[in-house]
Amino acid sequence: MSVLSVQNASKAFGENKVLKNISFDMNKGDVLAIIGPSGSGKSTLLRCCTILEKLDGGTIKYGDDYLCKDNNGISGYCTKEQMALIRKKFGLVFQNFNLFPHFSVLKNIVDPVVNVLNKSKEEAKETAVQLLKKMDLSDKANAYPCELSGGQQQRVAIARAMAMQPEVLFFDEPTSALDPELTGEILKVIRDLANEHMTMVVVTHEMAFAREVADRVIFMDNGFIVEEGKASEIIDNPQNERTKLFLQRFKENG
């Protein structure tokens, strides 16, 4: 069952074309890793999927709902009301967490559930407590984000996104702001979510992680999808010259 479908997505910032004819599909339970050099358009793609940016051309569809529909190369976007409904279908975990600093850890998770999903405080709190337990942060419920380590903040951010019960969860380089020790704890959480068949799109520079957790890998460069396929095949045995070069440099440096 298709949860997310992106067709012929294109996007430019002025003269600079960042996305060129990008297409991919996500079925329920898929874990997709998007890899590629900086400036290849990975983050922009994620930001278009999460309505932080808008496509110039192409189609994005969540389930049966069109976020935007291509019409002669130009994306026509749905109404604000439909957009609000579509926003409930996805979650996004940012590179630099973006927790709300004036809310406690618990309130960071509870507040959107109460104010966006209109659930009762008790129900939201119950969900939040369970998620914090799962993230191994039960003792931090009343702490404020500034009192937490980067890894802990990112786990709260993941809990906050999960509390909204998204159908698909996006990660935008979730470990890039963390040191290697803290990276491990975030990757473990994402791995656990994968084992529970959470549908996820992960933009990452962690090749070993991508190979292990993702079913599929997309390698992007210069706005194009250069290569796409089973994670182990792409990372162990890339066919395209550009992919080979990128992965080789990665091995040399890492």
């Binding site: 609000a84 979650g91 630099n96 973006n98 104010n115 966006v116 404020y144």
Partner: protein
């Protein structure tokens, strides 16, 4: 006591008991009159805050508007209001209805004062609000948007509480200036603290009313400072 008598310039007789009683009476009388003046100053202070604090928000948002006409208009407004003396603005606001529209001015002194003060201070507050709004990382807006908060929810639940923390120090500056600026209301013959003190000082040829007025202003500033310190401490629980 002799020093105070000299300041009051009321030492005429030699009967010290009588003189001291006179003095106490005069002194008490002076305090009461000055306190009444201070009451007017404080009303100007609070009424200005009441109107200027909310009025500054649309001005700040207008200044940040993506619509060029709006942001340019606000920019001009800020230039005019911040680029001319408040005293001039007081006179303009007071006389404008008469000279421009032929409306009689009776009973308009105090309202004119509040209007001029509110507009003037709203413009200064607006720039402080703007600095606070722009200090909020874009990631906060993005996180709220992805979570599905409406624009108004994002503003009131996420952005505004953080802005308030950011702007407390510059706001305390501006609010302390306001309590002292109320003295400018005498331009329109509003009988506030400084006008009372000044009149008294010249009629009695004494410096004492001025000193007492100074103490009143100091007490006001002291309370404002304490209030802002308290608010800053209250919001210190996060960074």
């Amino acid at each position: 006591m002799q020093f105070l008598s000299l300041l009051l310039n009321s030492a005429s007789g030699t009967d010290y008991t009588e003189m001291s009683m006179n003095f106490m009476g005069d002194f008490w009388n002076m305090i009461v009159q000055l306190a009444e003046g201070f009451g007017v100053s404080i009303s100007i202070f609070f009424l200005t805050l009441l109107f200027a604090l909310p009025l500054a928000l649309p001005i700040a948002l207008g200044r940040m508007s993506k619509i060029k006409v709006v942001s340019k208009l606000i920019e001009w407004l800020l230039l005019i209001v911040r680029g001319t003396p408040l005293m001039l603005q007081l006179i303009f606001v007071y006389f404008a209805p008469y000279y421009l529209f032929d409306i009689p001015l009776s009973g308009y002194r105090f309202p004119a004062t509040i209007i001029a003060f509110s507009i003037n201070y709203a413009c200064y507050f607006a720039e402080i609000y703007r600095s606070g709004l722009q200090a909020i990382p874009i990631g906060q807006h993005e996180a709220a948007s992805v979570l599905g908060y409406k624009k108004s929810q994002t503003f009131f639940r996420i952005v505004l509480p953080q802005v308030i923390k950011h702007i407390l120090p510059p706001m305390s500056n501006e609010v302390i200036t306001l309590i002292k600026d109320t003295a400018l209301a005498q331009t329109l013959a509003v009988v506030e603290l400084f006008r009372v003190a000044n009149t008294m000082a010249s009629s009695q040829a004494s410096l004492l009313p001025i000193i007492i007025a100074g103490v009143f202003y100091l007490i006001g500033s002291f309370i404002i400072t304490r209030f802002f310190n308290f608010a800053e401490r209250k919001l210190n629980y996060y960074r």
